[in-house]
Amino acid sequence: MAIHEPERIWWNPLSKDERVWVGVALIWMLVSFIFMPVYHLVGSQNPPSTTYSVKADDFDKLVEGMVGKYKVGEENGFPVVHPDPSEPVFIRASMWQWYPILELEKGKTYKVHLSSIDIQHGFSLQPINMNLMALPGYDYVIKLTPTSTGEFHIVCNEYCGVGHHTMVGKMYVK
């Protein structure tokens, strides 16, 4: 019994039921395990892994550089930027804003650089529900090809202080 010492010899062979169960479970486990690398190779929904380390000041300069060059408008005090797909695109997280508002073109592929200049934030693109971490000190590079047009929002989904729930940004795909 689970509450008594087992009998002298407990290294007994498995019964048929047990062998069948363990066998089926093992096959199931192996199949689901193998699909982890397989999906990574054939699937198109993998989290990116390209990362650079970056200082907050330097990242800030890159962001402002892009805004200066490609600003096309303004909304609620946030610049709207229509960048060239051949150049890197930046999104800056800080307490408590996503900056700037990007305007991307459907079907073009962008390299979006994501970083935070203060604490950790969570990049959550809605309503498609794509979630990535924005960490200070690291520039996370996302290869992004918008497949549908419209208006998207970036919600912060990592706790970042009392203003956390007001940290909403915007993105357009034209």
Partner: protein
Amino acid sequence: MANTDFRTCSLSGLKIHRSSELLIRWNLIAAFATLAVGGLMGLLVLLTRWPSVHLLPVEHYYRFLTAHGLDALLAWIIFFEIALVHFTSAVLLGTRSYVTWLGWVAFALMLIGGALINTIVVLGRADVMFTSYVPLKADPLYYLGVILFAVGALIGFIHFFINIVLSKRDGGFKRSLPLGSFGLAAASIIGILTLAHGAAIFLPTLLWSMDVIPTIDPSAYRLVFWGLGHSSQQINVCAMVAVWYMTSAFVVGGKPVNEKLSRTAFVLYILFINLASEHHLLVDPVLSSWHKVVNTSYMMHLAVLASMIHAFAIPASMEVALRKQGYTRGLFEWLKKAPWGNPAFSGVIISIVLFGFLGGITGVIFGTEQFAIIRHNTFAITGHFHGTVVAGTTIAFMAFTYLLIPFIFKRELIWKGFASIQPWLYGAGVATLSIGMMSAGSFGVPRRHYDITFSGAPFSFTFDPAIDMFMSMMGVGGVLAAAGGFLFILIAFGSIIFGKKMEQR
């Protein structure tokens, strides 16, 4: 060893030493008290997340959420586990708890640490969630509290090994531990490894908060923190599975059908479970994809296989035992005639079913790259772990409490009728809460979020209206769970204080 310090429990036949009895009692009392506080915080947080109630002001919401995570996840669970350490390394073996002063040192450290954490959090000097991701900074005393608690817990788990070594010397067992003790041995091994990660991350963070160290790398913090945070969930799984086996033995006389199989499964947990910790980091920068795939693989899912084995072995042990009692008609007479009115039995069955279907399956799914990117930090994750650590571990521990109160406190349960519905009430509540959270999360609703209508934000965004229903489902389920939890606390403390004293030999 003075023999007069032993008594024989008239219900279970266990030989219980005064030293173990006191340690178990006080660890349990601390566990129930922290569950009461943690549960109350859970209710307040719930009533804030429920959009039609939205109870607390913003600072209090984050403060109480931090406290809820710490009291429920850290304090309640680990105090109970240290009680289980003494139960399985002394009481089950019929020997005593040795070096009792060490047990009390562990208890005192955990108590002081827990009190310090709660004080600092309630004072508003550590609104950082239990994860305290740097560079979000809390008062140094907060980190000190966590360290004190963790060192206490570490000593508690080490105590397991002191006890069994000396117990063997005194003839407590000859060759192998009983399976229940074996499960706690696995839990204690994982516990010691895990708490080493805790030291590796909380000591530097303490120094950083005192400005001794200039910076802590946020990515490295997350990696080592989850070496603590995830692996410690495996302490809970091992302890919970051990409780499943022991309850089957105490309540229906269930015997593990094959000791080899069940023990091998525990060893798989020890070996491979740490290869899951990185699923918290799947959508982090820095780590490469292949690094993540390997370190979220449970080593070819062999640690999941272990759970599949227990899921077979425990119901099988119950079936065999009940059939031996004569319930042999048809395929399912044994199931119909099982002691459903006994909350220890029904609680364990509810725990097995909900842990498997709600917590386990979603865990394996969300732990893949492609799912992490559409579920990370959404409410679905909160739904997942209320399936594991609440519907699984907490309900199993509640069920075992109904055995420990007579065995260890020598009291009869009060309100037996209420006790027999308590696991059903709590289980139904938590299941509804968890499914509501998971469904809302699949529409992108974030976890740890004060206001999903985003009042005060520069841009407004509205989630799919379907979430209204799921958030209400969470609310209703949570209120039921809180009622079930409150009932548990009343029964536990009520029985300890007012329960009828039981005759002892």
